[in-house]
């Protein structure tokens, strides 16, 4: 409520009140405004640049060039993460591996986010039966351990980047369905959606112009968290030997390959692991920042 002096009580106190002009922030600025969001943006930007550089071949050394004179060298300026048993630069390998991991993560989250969000919106907005069918289906998917599920898919489809993405993405679909359905369900019964119905708006308009923008924040947060999880899941799959086949090596494969070397050349294990940790932390921070920014009330100073 605006503060009002007693003399204005009898008059129109709403229209004439002297107020500061309203200042608002855009999306990026409001993510940047939260501390977590700022950390997330910086880390994710660095991770993305590194990953793209790795895929584009812009690495300090060629990742797969073997140099017999530089076998198992420790950390140095020229080899930030040292070299492995074939004299390959671990840092360059990790950059390329990061690129591959990101590619799989983005593809899998695209699959999960698109299918899961759509499922969640439909389950939330449309009637009892549609909702029941979708929700029982997600219950079924929840009942299967996701790693087991991914294993089955990769075994059936054979290892490749796309298949890893499908294997990881499918496991996350029910989570998107659940997370999106809740707010849609609540919004459908909210006064402003009811007001829209009274005003004669079509169901499509209510769904896409009023409900969807309100759950976009939830979807964005979930996407960011899913990316972090997908990088981990991919590393897990690759560690089990179900990642994309050589010559491309993802971060998980590098960790897997170097585990036997860890006793004599710890850097071959620590380097790729560190990259995984940094990427996962970055996306988690970004998710927090998105959550803070997705509420329009926090966007006004």
């Amino acid at each position: 409520m605006t503060l009002q002096n007693p003399s204005s009580l009898t008059q129109n106190s709403d229209g004439d009140a002297q107020e500061e002009p309203v200042r608002r922030r855009g999306w990026f600025a409001s993510i940047w405004h939260s501390r977590n969001g700022r950390i997330g943006i910086i880390i994710v930007a660095l991770v993305l640049i590194a990953g793209v550089a790795g895929l584009a071949g812009l690495t300090p050394h060629a990742p797969d060039t073997q140099d017999p004179t530089q076998v198992l060298k420790g950390i140095s300026v020229s080899h930030l993460f040292g070299t492995d048993q074939f004299g390959r630069d671990v840092f360059s390998g990790a950059l390329q591996g990061l690129g591959v991991s990101l590619e799989i993560a983005f593809l899998s989250v695209l699959i999960a986010g698109a299918i899961g969000s759509l499922g969640g919106i439909i389950a939330g907005f449309f009637g009892k039966w549609t909702s029941a069918v979708i929700m029982r289906f997600t219950d079924m998917m929840f009942a299967i351990p996701s790693v087991l599920f991914a294993l089955a898919i990769v075994t059936a489809l054979g290892p490749s980047i796309m298949d890893s993405a499908i294997a990881i993405g499918v496991g996350w679909i029910p989570i998107f369905v659940r997370v999106v359905r809740g707010p849609v369900l609540a919004l459908r019964e909210s006064d402003f959606v009811r007001a829209g119905r009274v005003l004669g708006f079509s169901r499509a308009r209510l769904l896409f112009r009023h409900i969807l923008p309100s759950v976009a924040g939830v979807i964005a947060v979930q996407t960011s968290l899913a990316l972090a999880w997908a990088i981990l899941a991919e590393a897990g799959l690759s560690f089990l030997g179900l990642g994309p086949p050589p010559p491309v090596a993802s971060l998980g494969e590098m960790v897997s390959n170097s585990s036997s070397l860890a006793g004599i050349a710890w850097w071959t294990l620590v380097g790729p692991s560190l990259v995984i940790v940094v990427a996962v932390i970055g996306f988690n921070f970004l998710g927090d920042g998105l959550r803070d920014a997705s509420d329009p009330r926090t966007r006004t100073r």
Binding site: D14, A195, L199, H210, S214, T300
Partner: protein
């Protein structure tokens, strides 16, 4: 000849399935006639079905039975699908202005959307929006605001402007002031009265507050457990209340006089089972009624005219 804007006949709404046996008669046999340009007040405590009545009239829910005519034209009330035709005739102002406005839309965008959907004022959308805002006493700069950047009173003004955007003939006001600060209530009421005069609107004003309804209404219906128990011109209902429930409501209005305050009787809470149970054979008010007689527990009274349009549904009142 009276100019009738809205006529509802025998509206009823039953919630719950027949099979489960857990039915609730939210509304039974409610008939209303709204005169054009006048205000019809509906009062009753929470759970009496007044909000259900509002939802049925604006098409948010379909009635179990009954019919509705606006301007003599029969309206087919269905709960699903688009009802753009109905929207142009009747609009609803919600109790809580903040939750009834889309938090992600500025006032400008929200109003523009309505005009676009209904194809109104295509050639001068911005001009019409300024006009709507000035109609509810808001400066044009408020068009750029988001709902959370408005005060309660301002938000309710926007909600009223939004309802007026489709140029309806009947406005259903579901407790439009009870979520507001006491100091702005009177402003909103005055605004509603002024708009009614300017646009010849017909109001259905719903409230639990008899004193509020008294100020604004030409005719009044008192509801109890989904039924109209008393109806008539406002002076009839207030000066010579017939139903014991109306009398109790009236006595519940606080009077700024400590002597009076000491002697007044306060209405007891309704027994919980009475509110949810399916209507029993007798009068629904009988369990709380100080005048209840044996017949009240056996035969349900019917709304009957006592004198010159003043109707009541009470065995005792009708006899005297």
């Amino acid at each position: 000849m009276v100019d009738v804007a809205l006529k509802a006949e025998q509206l009823a709404k039953i919630y719950g399935s027949r099979r489960a046996g857990a039915q609730v008669d939210a509304l039974s046999d409610v008939s209303l006639t709204l005169t054009r340009g006048k205000t019809f007040g509906v009062v009753g405590e929470s759970g009496c079905g007044k909000s259900t009545l509002a939802r049925l009239l604006v098409g948010l829910e379909a009635p179990t039975s009954g019919s509705l005519a606006i301007n003599g034209e029969q309206v087919h009330l269905k709960a699903k699908g688009d009802n753009r035709t109905l929207a142009r005739k009747i609009q609803l102002v919600f109790q809580d202005p903040f939750s009834s406005l889309d938090p992600r839309m500025t006032v400008q965008r929200a109003l523009k959307e309505i005009l676009r959907v209904h194809g109104l004022h295509r050639d001068d959308l911005d001009g019409r929006i300024r006009e709507l805002l000035s109609m509810v006493g808001l400066a044009a700069r408020f068009a750029e605001r988001y709902p959370h950047e408005l005060s309660g009173g301002q938000a309710q003004r926007v909600a009223i402007a939004r309802a007026l955007a489709v140029e309806p003939e009947v406005l259903v006001l579901d407790e439009p002031t009870s979520a507001l600060d006491v100091s702005v209530r009177a402003e909103i009421i005055n605004l509603l009265v002024r708009i009614q005069d300017e646009l010849e609107l017909t109001y259905l004003f719903i409230s639990h507050d008899l004193s509020m309804v008294r100020h604004i209404s030409d005719e009044i219906a008192v509801m109890y457990l989904g039924r109209v128990v008393e109806a008539g011109r406002y002076d009839q209902v207030f000066e010579t209340p017939l139903h014991p429930y109306t009398l109790a409501l009236e006595q519940a209005i606080p009077v700024p006089d400590p002597e009076h305050e000491r002697t007044r009787k306060v209405l007891s809470e309704a027994p919980a089972h009475v509110q949810v149970a399916k209507a029993t054979a007798g009068c629904p008010y009988a369990p709380r009624c100080p005048l209840a007689e044996p017949i009240c527990g056996e035969v349900a009274p019917v709304l009957q005219e006592k004198s010159d349009g003043h109707r009541v549904s009470c065995h005792v009142a009708l006899r005297h």
